[in-house]
Symmetry: C2
Subunit: 339 residues, 2 copies
Amino acid sequence: MKIREEVKNIKPYNPGKDRGGIKLNKNESPFSLPKELKNEILAALKDVSFNRYPESTGAGLREKLAAFHGLEKDNVVVGSGSDQLISYSVKLFSGKGAIVTPPTFSMYRFYSEVSGLKVFPVPLNPEFDLQIEKIKSAIKDAAIVFLCSPNNPTGNTFKRDSIVEILNTGTAVVLDEAYGEFSGVSHMDLIQDYENLLVLRTFSKAFGLAGARIGYALGGKKIIDYLLRVKPPYNLNSISLRIAEMMLENYEIVQERVEFIKSERSRIYRRFEEVCYPSQANFLLMDINAGDYFRERGISVRTFTGRLEDKIRITIGTKKENDLLIDSLKDYTEKRDDY
Amino acid sequence: MKIREEVKNIKPYNPGKDRGGIKLNKNESPFSLPKELKNEILAALKDVSFNRYPESTGAGLREKLAAFHGLEKDNVVVGSGSDQLISYSVKLFSGKGAIVTPPTFSMYRFYSEVSGLKVFPVPLNPEFDLQIEKIKSAIKDAAIVFLCSPNNPTGNTFKRDSIVEILNTGTAVVLDEAYGEFSGVSHMDLIQDYENLLVLRTFSKAFGLAGARIGYALGGKKIIDYLLRVKPPYNLNSISLRIAEMMLENYEIVQERVEFIKSERSRIYRRFEEVCYPSQANFLLMDINAGDYFRERGISVRTFTGRLEDKIRITIGTKKENDLLIDSLKDYTEKRDDY
């Protein structure tokens, strides 16, 4: 048994410490499903045959997602979290490596490395914007480029022109719009013109279903056909499939909650503008090194190593959670020299 | 965008035609959960926070599985089907390829190819037994060997001595015991002596939870530590985790149903011994080319291409389903010259 060197070097993913209390560390939705809807879902699960395999590609959900976005079933692949679709995408293209733009979601690097792709990092500039020219120079050896917009953990979006400029190189681009609902902007329409584009979306954030692990990829029919070839059958379970379908039928709940999160994001941002980066997502990156401070007060926030080691990322919570956060933040920023 | 040649050559997995009627084609359990248990499960799901990510490695289920098998949590990894654990295992080891022993479960080949491993097939001999010497000659270039016992779709088990002989080469061995409950034999105890062994088990067969997609791998702590490194976080959803835990607490239901399947397997085998291969699984391979015949009678069975193209595999069903199958089989075998 010879373990691959790449595997020996993998540091297990660290989702951050989670000590209970108020969880503002994972960019989850703070909201449970409305009781009535949850009961409806549980009632619907009575009719799901647990003993039978799901439909091989989740065709029912693919059709509903296609209708939802004005696309066709052949433009959609579903997965057990959009994560799983990242893991499929790194297997599709030939080339030496994957371009990633740190600081960004760490799973692009993880899946690339596990798949044996080299990682070519092209860091975001000091304004957390893409360095287009550097990406274009690195791209000739690349199999794939990962872009996350709004970007996790910085919260900003990238300009459509920049995304198009990268797409025009012809290299495959995975555009992760996991937080797209909170920005109100999507570039998924570009799949009509760019066969090299895959757009990822998730039910884990705005839809409030992180526990059910549901994501999807949108793309032109050609790239989706290839994605379906590397996708194993039955990759999404029957229960999550059914829950996702029912959430789509109740999208007004999602919309309402997105509006709430956006308004709370503004409230916190405006109050702490000096230490907050602008955000188009359901979280705020803050220029304070206050991970331990919050943890001691029962609030879990995301901390980092490396370039962002003196910053924290806080997820927008419920009104009550945000009030508590604001109190603590006020205390911290007013007395920060003491901490 | 340059699609990898390996991807272009992948034939999408074909789980076989599924036209409704009696489903004896996917080796599923024919039994729904007992109504009472399903209600208990649905009631328990009220307390599962759909909006929160699951525990990153499914620690709760890992602990329960460890206790169930008299092992420790660090001997267990859980996945979204044992399939997913195959996909992780092909990334672990260095070497040129994967040894598979056709006719066997096609996903070993699928995941190996998608991961860029060559596939070294060492076909089973005419008695569907392992060709140990040939495996041992092929093994020097191999990263991994896949063995399925009881083997799908042939139904036979491999001798413990043969498995041990392969383990003694030191190359990594994945021993898939998806159908282990129906044979009553497991070699999972070998993980104590062989650090190069991973044993796969599933909730999709005897446990009757194919729709929930739950599988697990057992191994020594070293190999499990590496497996956890290539496993992404949150790979199994919170709902399936909870369902699996509750099924383990109700294992007597599983046992009862396994006994039923075994007794029905004997009943069909004894009646059609001339055309049946002996089986230690929840299915029977039959030496009749009767796929279309059964399909016309509303019974879906598994058909094949290649070496088994003149055979079918039928999954053991409910009493009523098996009675109908037996009637049709009787009709077919008595009049087979007419078909």
